[in-house]
Amino acid sequence: SISAQNPDISGDRQSGQDVRTQNVMACQAVSNIVKTSLGPVGLDKMLVDDIGDVTITNDGATILRMLEVEHPAAKVLVELAELQDREVGDGTTSVVIVAAELLKRANDLVRNKIHPTSIISGYRLAMRESCKYIEEKLVTKVEKLGKVPLINCAKTSMSSKLISGDSDFFANLVVEAVLSVKMTNQRGEIKYPIKGINILKAHGQSARDSYLLNGYALNTGRAAQGMPLRVSPAKIACLDFNLQKTKMQLGVQVVVNDPRELEKIRQREADMTKERIEKLLKAGANVILTTKGIDDMALKYFVEAGAIAVRRVRKEDMRHVAKATGATLVTTFADMEGEETFDPAHLGSADEVVEERIADDDVILIKGTKTSSAVSLILRGANDYMLDEMERALHDALCIVKRTLESNTVVAGGGAVESALSVYLEHLATTLGSREQLAIAEFADALLIIPKVLAVNAAKDATELVAKLRAYHHTAQTKADKKHYSSMGLDLVNGTIRNNLEAGVIEPAMSKVKIIQFATEAAITILRIDDMIKLVKDESQGEE
């Protein structure tokens, strides 16, 4: 008879409960790393790489990205944080914590001989119910979003970050920035492309001296000193090629018989660029931006024409400038007839282009752009590490404001939503007579991890606070006249319960929904694993 042999696998294989427990432990470890950075009293992490470069951050996604997480299951969580960062932009820490907690509880259930698939379907059901409940009961429609709720959203997002002390100041800055890039696309949808907000960092001064600049800022100076500092109104040409002496792309050899020809070639090389520049200037361009270089020789023509030329503009910046000013990024002058022409229609326009000095750097500002407005946030701060962290915090806040504007609905923060859902789901679980009941009950408990961690980080009595919170939410859901209790959340500074909707601690509903959805999906993914095979690196192929 054939003995029950393991198939020939060149690697380690683990299966069953072992693997599940290991995965859960790994996820738990990841969540423990970021746990202390949650909430308004969370702290920062300092990450040092082997060269000695330092990153100081509070952003969950950034922390996890910088750490070299090796365990495969833990990697899922890292990716989860990144997904949240991409989709929503904030809540990266929460999503990891919730996912890890869901997993931990699921593992306990499996140990009690409940099949993972039952748990999975229970979790799925709970997730759907919670999203529905948020959208039906918990959200507050903000029909006409004034500035106040937006500023509050931004403040909530920033409260855990380095700049929390100045959150009033920055929230205003952020909201103004987002509102000023508002645009309507062809389908009539209102969009807030936050990519149009350029964040420039210049160290010096203090965080409070950061400011919003109307206009797109390019972090380069003009190419020659002789150029004017200001051009108005500006006609902008965006080029994506060299304005240097013309040169064949490949190492082409030109062989001439008559030495006089040689001189002509030289002459032609210089003249070709000159002609191009003349075409540009003739079309009316007085600001020339190129991603490539400009020869010293070519600069003089611009100086004489009183135009600003900027070389080595970053391609990304260039695209934004082109979009904002209505210019077309020109890659070549060649037209269909084989001639070289420059169409004035390719020019973008702006009210003015000026060179200003910010800190120690020269910056080109493009103000009053034609098609869509662009703004730049100039951040100031004590040193580079601080600026980097400020940028991350502002990015989160910008995303949040954008989401709020797009979804128009907000929910109360500070653990209010999580507690409400927990109470609701627990009730729901008791109405179900199937195996899913247990899973849903655990899901309900797992959500409480957010208020718990918040309270623990603030060094408050978590058990007592959460119990109180749940009591409020229970009243809100059972007694019709106490509905407003559903926005009760934690006040972490004083360690009490308050109505967070009134206190201005709010978040866009979309962010909360996504956190629950993503966290559940990630937990399910890991839960489904019952076998892990680690392949040993094949030595024969490892060389390449």
Partner: protein, 555 residues
């Protein structure tokens, strides 16, 4: 039961909790202790040996810290502060570190009492706001057109430096230089670009008193053909070029195949003609001086010397820009496009002088120079280097004054006033933030205390006396005279600081302290992630067979 689950790679080192707080504070204090003795007029210099064996002798906080190679990440962050301060205002690099160190030091006591760091940070930020408000209140405006006032201020700012023993000279140089290059932007704004338009030339030898601000520029070059070209021209007509005055190959790879013997001559002749051509074009404008950034062939040199024109070659781009600013010329790239307006006529004198062993060209007596050179002389190189650092500080101070003509008392008086006001205010603060707020107020006293320490007086007695004077927020101008250690009125002793510098010091120090306090976890040893594709690079394939082929030259 299970093997331990490894989530992070084992090369990572992770520290967290109170250990981190403690470590960060210790490291920051260590940095502050290094440069503590360089604060104030009785400061001492530090001698640093860099990796290359060179010596730096300085008491400039930034210059000292820049040379240090520290391992602790928090210490690194502190050093960055000094750099920020230097770039932003150019002065107060030592104070900022001392203050930040002290802020962290007082926070340590609270951390031991299990205060939450965010509470301390909030209190600090509040203290910062209030301290800036105090600064605004005691600041005094001055008239920047009154030279004696500006001079006094610059003098007192650099009074702590090594060169203060030479009296007003450095301050004079700094003010002259900055007023020369100051540009009025309109709307009462003035901009001074020190980096671009002021050049400091250090020439060892001579006496320190021989240093001067030139009304124009100088550079370390001689005319191309000494003896044949004039070395002194009054009211020169100057042409600036940034193209070579020699035969240059084109950008494309061109080969000439010569079949007949005569062609060879033609080719050579062409090259000569080319040079002759551009020389003629230049000479048409009757210049007295031709300066190019690139090369200048012997032939061109011959044409110029025959026409009695002096020429200088291989000048740096930045120098060329400064000459253009000083004499009003435009830098030209193609000689055939020269115009009369491109020629600089603003200079009064061109002269080549021999100083020591080197020849220096001077373009001076310019009518309206918008760029200038500061010529520093001194007995040794180290000496001049330190003088240059002092001068940079002094120029920054002068620039700050021109930009924001407000000043505050020096000698620790400002800090004492801020401290006293904050102490009073702390009584009105509710909640646990009161104590860190008060501690921040006390931390400001670190500056006058260090001053007192450095000038060797009885610290406790002096500080108590000063605190007493400031206690009710009066006597805002009473501080320590850093030379004698006596308590004096800063207004009478003329010890001032620029408002910008003080405000920046407070802001940078407190914000940085907050940032370091908020850290509760350090993970080190992270490998820098390699960009995809940048692994071991593929060996570049070089076949020897086509060595004849012209290589593609990078542009």
């Amino acid at each position: 039961m299970h093997a331990p689950v490894l989530v992070l790679s084992d090369s990572l080192k992770r520290e967290s909790g109170s250990k981190v707080h403690h470590g960060n504070i210790q490291a920051s204090k260590a940095v502050a202790d290094i440069i503590r003795t360089t604060l104030g007029p009785r400061s001492m210099l530090k001698m640093l040996l860099d990796a290359g064996g060179g010596i730096v002798v300085t008491n400039d906080g930034n210059a000292i810290l820049r040379e240090l190679d520290v391992a602790h990440p928090a210490a690194k962050s502190m050093i960055e502060l000094s750099r920020t301060q230097d770039e932003e205002v150019g002065d107060g690099t030592t104070s900022v570190i001392v203050l930040a160190g002290e802020m962290l030091h007082v926070a340590e006591a609270f951390l031991e009492k299990n205060y939450h760091p965010t509470v301390i940070c909030r209190a600090y930020i509040k203290a910062l706001e209030d301290s800036i408000a105090v600064l605004d209140k005691i600041a005094m405006s001055i008239d920047i057109n009154d030279r004696s006032q500006v001079l006094g201020l610059v003098k007192s700012c650099i009074g702590t430096k090594f060169t203060s023993q030479f009296g007003d000279l450095i301050a004079d140089l700094a003010i002259d230089a900055t007023t020369t290059v100051g540009v009025d932007l309109g709307q009462g704004l003035r901009e001074v670009d020190i980096k671009k338009y002021i050049k400091v030339e250090k020439v060892p030898g001579g006496q320190f008193e021989d240093s001067e601000v030139l009304k124009g520029v100088m550079f370390n070059k001689d005319v191309v053909a000494p003896g044949k070209m004039k070395r002194k021209i009054v009211n020169p007509r100057i042409i600036l070029l940034d193209c070579p005055l020699e035969y240059k190959k084109g950008e494309n790879q061109t080969n000439a195949e010569l079949v007949r013997e005569e062609d060879w001559e033609v080719l050579l002749k062409l090259e000569e003609e080319y040079i002759e051509n551009i020389c003629v074009q230049i000479l048409k404008f009757k210049p007295d001086l031709v300066i190019t950034e690139k090369g200048l062939s012997d032939l061109a040199c011959h044409y110029f010397s025959k026409a009695g024109v002096s020429a200088i070659r291989r000048l740096r781009k930045t120098d060329n820009n400064r000459i253009a600013k000083a004499c009003g010329a435009v830098i030209v790239n193609r000689p055939d496009e020269l115009q009369e307006s491109d020629i600089g006529t603003g200079a009064g004198l061109f002269e080549v002088k021999k100083i020591g062993d080197d020849f220096f060209s001077f373009i001076v007596d310019c009518k309206e120079p918008k760029a200038c050179t500061v010529l520093l002389r001194g007995p040794s190189k180290d000496f001049i280097n330190e003088v240059e650092r002092n001068l940079q500080d002094a120029m920054s101070v002068a620039r700050n004054i021109i930009k924001n003509p407000k000043l505050v008392p020096g000698g620790g008086a400002t800090e004492l006033t801020v401290s006293a006001t904050l102490k009073q205010k702390s009584a009105t603060i509710e909640g646990i933030e009161k104590w860190p707020y008060e501690a921040a107020a006390i931390a400001f006293e670190a500056i006058p205390r260090t001053l007192a320490q450095n000038c060797g007086v009885n610290v406790i007695r002096t500080m108590t006396a000063l605190q007493g004077k400031h206690a009710n927020g009066e006597n805002a101008w009473t501080g320590i005279d850093g030379n004698t250690g006596a308590i004096a009125d800063m207004k009478e002793s003329k010890i001032w600081d620029s408002y910008n510098v003080k405000a920046q010091t407070f802001k940078t120090a407190i914000e940085a302290a907050c940032m370091l306090l908020r850290i509760d976890d350090i993970v080190s040893g992270i490998k820098k992630k390699q960009a995809p594709g940048s692994g071991p690079s593929k060996p570049t394939i070089e076949t020897e067979g086509d060595a004849d082929n012209e290589q593609i030259l990078p542009d």
